[in-house]
Amino acid sequence: MSAILETRNLGRNLPGDPPIVLVRDVNVTIEPGAFTTIVGPSGCGKSSLLYLLGLIDRPTTGELLVEGREVSQLSGDERARIRLARFGFVFQFHFLLPEFSALENVMLPIQRLGRLPIAQAREQALGLLAGVGLEDKHGKTPDRLSGGERQRVAIARALANDPILILGDEPTGNLDSHNSARVVETLHALAHEQGRAVACVTHDPGIAEASDVQIEMLDGRVENVIDRRPAKPQGLLGREPSAD
């Protein structure tokens, strides 16, 4: 199974005397088709790890490979390009731009990537909003949407450029149980039905236990990785049964 993300002794320190260690010696892989959760007590470095994985932050030590390519030394613009074209983010707070309607928010990454003419970008964004059940509310600005609706718009935006990896920072942290279940359901579908990689930081034990891979962190270190996926023959891909 080729990993989308792979870390090798990844670490992140804040300058200081002594340096403050946020993340140290992390060796994990994030794979397509799997719903991965990162759990641990507050301050254990799980969000810091997520920002490193999402190329929002730069590691101070170790390597980070995106689809086999070392990216931690790339320029800011190249990293932004990877985030734009390959990754999608969902945060605890919806983080929609307040001046833009739901549709425009979803269109932002598509337009920034600039591969589609505006009419097609609009078409695609409407499709994504329909996917999260909000096609009839596409003209509303975030302040006219409920918390659950905003988070669904945020998910639609994260999917705008058809990313291979969706990263969530407590995506259900601010939602009631009903909306929370709906968001988790969507994330599972993204991984299992569409074959994307999904990695989420969460506090919710229910979500963690339902995930395929559970990365447990403590004091900036990965303590344990639980893989609940049914064991597969080594090196075998679903579509290539005899690759080995």
Binding site: Q92, F93, F95
Partner: protein, 416 residues
């Protein structure tokens, strides 16, 4: 690339549309700055142009006189110029004043394309009427040529310069002088000079009041009349030259002076002190109006700076989505430029209105209706716009740079 630019400009516009009041204030700041810049510089440049025009036209562009800039060299100096010698107390040969071989000088001046040279003789005479004496300078001219090189014709209240040709012993004097002597057009006065016996002259024209020199102390007569009155037949001591391009005067004057040795004074040399005064005036004007524009750009700085601080969270979101640092900087610089653009357009309108108001004002001066000279050339508009855009771009760039340096991790981590 164009698509991306348009997209980012769209985001900038959206930001501005949500802070209308601040936008309006910043835009009016720029508009007032640009408007007053236009009005003030139109006034200053207009009056300057008017002033220079008057300087140019007040007298011929070049005046060649029979003066020398340095005394003519003595024979001893001519021969032993490089030797060690000193001459003083020598007896100088008395030379007849006047421009020698003036026909050649005239020919040389006329040879310059578009140039017209007019010879004249000046000297002092006394006008006398019924025991009242007035010492004046008279100028003997060829009326036909003189009218072409000077604006003297415009200064006449009564009569024309050509009338000198048709009236035996005609003279044109100023209104003030005529009043002091108690004469009118058609009256006869007696004129005497130190070198000739007196003769009577008939007043054929009057110069307007106001031009004090012309009006009270000068009389115009025919050249040959002046030559006989001053007892200097065939002599002239002044050649006025008018050029097609007044700004070539300095160069032409220099050539003529080098060639003939006589002092040839261009209008620039004649009015050097005025011209240096204009430079000072321009420095003052441009410092003041630039200060207006600079202050206006503070408004832009405030709006963009506020926009950046208010939008730190949005900046972090856009960065996480995949907008580059350059994108963010571009968005906020564009906000400043949009403010400048609207401000400049409003300012152009304001400036146009101010200029129209100034241009419609009329003042009666010396019995004539005078309007304020204004320079309404597009150049002023372009200068004002360029300066505002420059100031606006810098004012926006400073906070925009800050926007691009926002670390998304700090914001996302501490998000509220």
């Amino acid at each position: 690339m164009i698509g991306r630019t348009r997209f980012l400009v769209g985001i900038a516009l959206r930001h501005l549309s949500r802070r209308r009041r601040q936008t309006a204030v910043a835009v009016s700041g720029v508009a007032v700055g640009v408007g007053f810049f236009l009005a003030v510089s139109a006034l200053m440049v207009g009056s300057q142009n008017d002033f220079i025009e008057q300087l140019i036209d007040a007298a011929p562009h070049i005046v060649i006189s029979d003066e020398l800039r340095s005394p003519s060299p003595q024979p001893g100096e001519r021969v032993f110029g490089d030797g060690a010698m000193e001459l003083h107390g020598y007896k100088v040969r008395t030379e007849v004043r006047g421009i020698k071989d003036w026909q050649a000088v005239m020919a040389a001046a006329n040879a310059v394309p578009g140039a017209i040279a007019s010879p004249s003789l000046t000297g002092g005479v006394t006008l006398r009427l019924g025991g009242h004496d007035e010492a004046i300078g008279i100028v003997g001219v060829e009326p036909e040529i003189e009218t072409e090189i000077s604006t003297i014709e415009d200064q006449l209240r009564e009569g024309r310069l050509r009338d000198l040709e048709t009236t035996q012993g005609g003279i044109i004097i100023g209104e003030d002088l005529a009043r002091r002597l108690g004469v009118r057009v058609g009256d006869i006065v007696a004129a005497t000079s130190s070198t000739s016996s007196g003769r009577s002259m008939r007043v054929v024209g009057l110069f307007k009041k106001g031009q004090s020199q012309l009006s009270s102390g000068t009389g115009y007569v025919l050249l040959r009349e002046a030559q006989s009155l001053l007892g200097r037949p065939f002599i002239i001591n002044r050649i006025g030259v008018r050029l097609a391009d007044p700004y070539a005067a300095e160069a032409v004057a220099k050539t003529l002076e080098t060639r003939f040795g006589y002092k040839a004074e261009s209008w620039q040399e004649r009015s050097a002190d005025f011209l240096s005064l204009l430079v000072t005036r321009n420095v003052i004007m441009y410092s003041v109006v630039s200060a207006i524009l600079l202050v206006a750009s503070f408004g832009i700085y405030t709006v963009v700076s506020n926009s950046v601080s208010d939008k730190r969270r949005d900046i972090a979101i856009m960065r996480s989505i995949g907008f580059s640092e350059g994108d963010l900087q571009f968005i906020f610089v564009v906000e400043g430029l949009i403010l400048s653009l609207i401000g400049v357009l409003c300012g152009w309108l304001l400036g146009y209105i101010l200029m129209s108001i100034l241009g419609s004002l009329a003042f009666p001066i010396g019995g004539e209706i005078e309007r304020i000279p204004l320079d309404r050339s597009p150049r002023q508009y372009a200068v004002a716009a360029t300066a505002s855009f420059l100031a606006g771009a810098i004012a926006a760039w400073l906070p925009a740079r800050k926007a691009s340096r926002v670390d998304p991790v700090d914001i996302l981590r501490g998000a509220v």
